[in-house]
């Protein structure tokens, strides 16, 4: 019981240093304040204990003293607020070109899918020193992706994507917990983040690869007949998806929204919600037809269309020829 008994969590990500610094600062401030209160209470209690013939001296109060111990704490609090907000903002804005991992939380297990196609259950292999962006959704209830060693936690909500990112700095295996109560095996929904040297990571990568996720996405894009409306030329009944991801989209009711993962997901599951300017709302909903994994693949594919030099969606027949080619694991459950 006593062999491995840490009093401080591992520090294995860039964020860990920032959070620890703020934590230690707050520990010091609170420690001083607690010390101040404890010593003054004990000292006053002892110094002014009741003695015969020594009455208590009535002191009404003093406005300046009241102001000092209102304004000074407020000042300290605001400093802490700003520092905390800076750390928070860094943690909530993923860097531009981070490698992406799609996470699907399901009652009591984590399914993770690299953009390069590897699929893992309850484990995530990442290389040291590279930014990893997690695009997460849940199939049932609210879970929460929590890696204490990275000081990172983000709830995973059903029905939409939530995003988190980290950059591992120290190779090793770290706990992955579910931090939002999600049912019987909530405490069993534990995984591991395996941080490897780039060489080991490459070796592991070449193992079970089923081709990049975007390629799987392209197959689904063809199988479901999306390509018949969303064509690379402009006569398609649906908007051309080339370069759409990340760009601002003009809607028919005047609003402009940026096409992020949630926009693409909503356009697939609930097309009527946001209609692009100049197009008819003819797209059927795919709610219940497309699984979370297929959805992730489609989003990855749409993203790949925005990368410079990405080939446009092949016309219907060309894409279908490809899907017959025997590639392992193209049928996503």
């Amino acid at each position: 019981m006593f062999d491995n008994f840490p009093l401080w969590p591992d520090r294995a990500s860039t964020a860990a240093g920032n959070v620890d610094a703020l934590y230690i600062f707050l520990l010091i401030v609170s420690g001083l304040m607690t010390l101040l209160i404890f010593t003054s209470v004990i000292y006053f209690a002892a110094r002014y204990r009741q003695q015969q013939g020594v009455p208590a001296e009535q002191i009404e109060g003093s406005i300046p003293l009241e102001l000092t111990w209102s304004v000074i704490p407020l000042g300290v609090f605001l400093a802490i607020f700003f520092w905390g907000a800076v750390v928070y903002f860094k943690g909530r804005t993923p860097p531009r070109d981070s490698t992406e991992v799609y996470v699907v939380a399901k009652q009591w297990m984590w399914k993770l899918e690299h953009a390069e196609g590897q699929r893992e259950i309850n484990e995530l292999h990442v290389p040291v020193g590279r930014d990893v962006k997690l695009i997460m959704t849940s199939q049932d209830v609210i879970h929460s992706f929590f890696v204490p060693a990275f000081r990172m936690k983000q709830d995973v909500l059903p029905g939409r994507y939530t995003v988190a990112w980290f950059r591992a700095t120290k190779p090793g295996t770290y706990h992955l917990f579910c931090a939002e109560y999600c049912g019987t095996q909530h405490s069993g929904m534990i995984g591991a983040i395996v941080v490897q040297e780039p060489a080991q990571y490459e070796a592991w990568m070449n193992g079970g690869s089923t081709g990049p996720l975007s390629v799987t996405g392209e197959k689904i894009f063809a199988e479901l007949g999306c390509v018949t409306c969303h064509r690379s030329d402009t006569q398609g009944r649906g908007p051309n998806l080339q370069g759409v991801f990340g760009a601002a989209v003009q809607l028919d009711d005047g609003r402009t929204v940026t096409a992020d993962e949630n926009y693409v997901r909503e356009s697939i599951l609930d097309p009527g919600a946001k209609i692009v300017k100049g197009f008819k709302p003819v797209m059927p909903t795919f709610q219940g037809i497309v699984s979370e994994e297929q959805l992730n693949a489609l989003v990855a594919y749409v993203k790949s269309l925005s990368k410079p030099g990405a080939p446009g969606p092949k016309t219907a027949d060309a894409a279908s020829k490809d899907s017959k080619a025997p590639t392992k694991g193209s049928q996503v459950e």
Binding site: D270, G272, A273, I275, K280, P281, T285
Partner: protein, 235 residues
């Protein structure tokens, strides 16, 4: 909603004499009215939670809400609003009748108020029956297919989002109707006491406190009518 409003009204002070723990009669009346005003504060926050849900989903699904709201008969809603406004008037007349010892006016106005209340519930019942026939009652039998969104004739409303509107519609108007039923209960009791000649120009606190409750239920409806019935009525 337990019938605590009835006790909150401190009605059956068998005689205008003072309740034991109050010092003066004015203190007792002020306490009762302050008590009712604070109770109305809790009611505002109680409906407030529903208005918050309504506000957020209206922002998200404006088109679907417009389509669903258009399927409700706004004329019935409008007449109901007028009915409640008239009932507020008769409540005020009843109180004025008590203040000026006009027994006939007081009792007549109380009866009229309750008739208006019943009329309101009747119209509400008709509305609910229409919704039931059109399968717009949320739950298993709900169906809202191929209903165009107002202003976008070629676009159909999403049935799931319309079901949220109807869920909010039935909960908000249902809760309001429940408060109306409790109001009718209070006013029956006030009528009985008025009939027994319990209210005099010096003592008619239960009438005033009951009136405050009734006017509050009217104010809730004044907000419910435009927000639920008139979301998107222009052609």
């Amino acid at each position: 909603m337990s019938d605590s409003q009835a006790t909150a009204v401190q009605g059956e002070a068998h005689n205008p004499a003072l309740l034991h723990h109050f010092v003066t009669e004015e203190q007792q009346r002020d306490a009762s009215s302050l008590g009712m005003w604070i109770f109305l504060a809790t009611e505002v926050m109680f409906f407030g939670g529903l208005f918050c849900a309504y506000l957020i989903y209206r922002g998200w699904y404006f088109g679907d809400f417009g389509a669903a709201s258009k399927s409700i008969d706004a004329l019935l809603g409008g007449t109901n609003t007028a009915v409640l406004i008239c009932s507020s008037l008769t409540v005020v007349l009843a109180i004025w009748g008590a203040q000026t010892a006009r027994r006939g006016l007081m009792i007549g106005s109380l009866i009229l108020t309750m008739l208006f209340g019943l009329a309101f519930l009747g119209i509400k019942g008709k509305e609910y029956k229409d919704k039931f026939d059109e399968h717009h009652v949320p739950g298993v039998s709900f169906s809202f297919e191929h209903v165009p969104i107002p202003g976008h004739p070629d676009q159909y409303a999403n049935p799931r989002h319309a079901e949220i509107f109807f869920a909010l519609y039935f909960i908000m108007t249902g809760l309001h109707a429940l408060h109306m039923v409790i109001g009718l209960g209070i006013f029956t009791w006030l009528l009985v006491m008025a009939w027994k000649g319990r209210f005099t120009p010096q003592y008619h606190t239960p009438l005033e406190v009951g009136g405050l409750y009734w006017h509050f239920v009217d104010i809730v409806w004044i907000y419910l009518f435009p927000l639920l019935y008139l979301i998107d009525r222009h052609p």
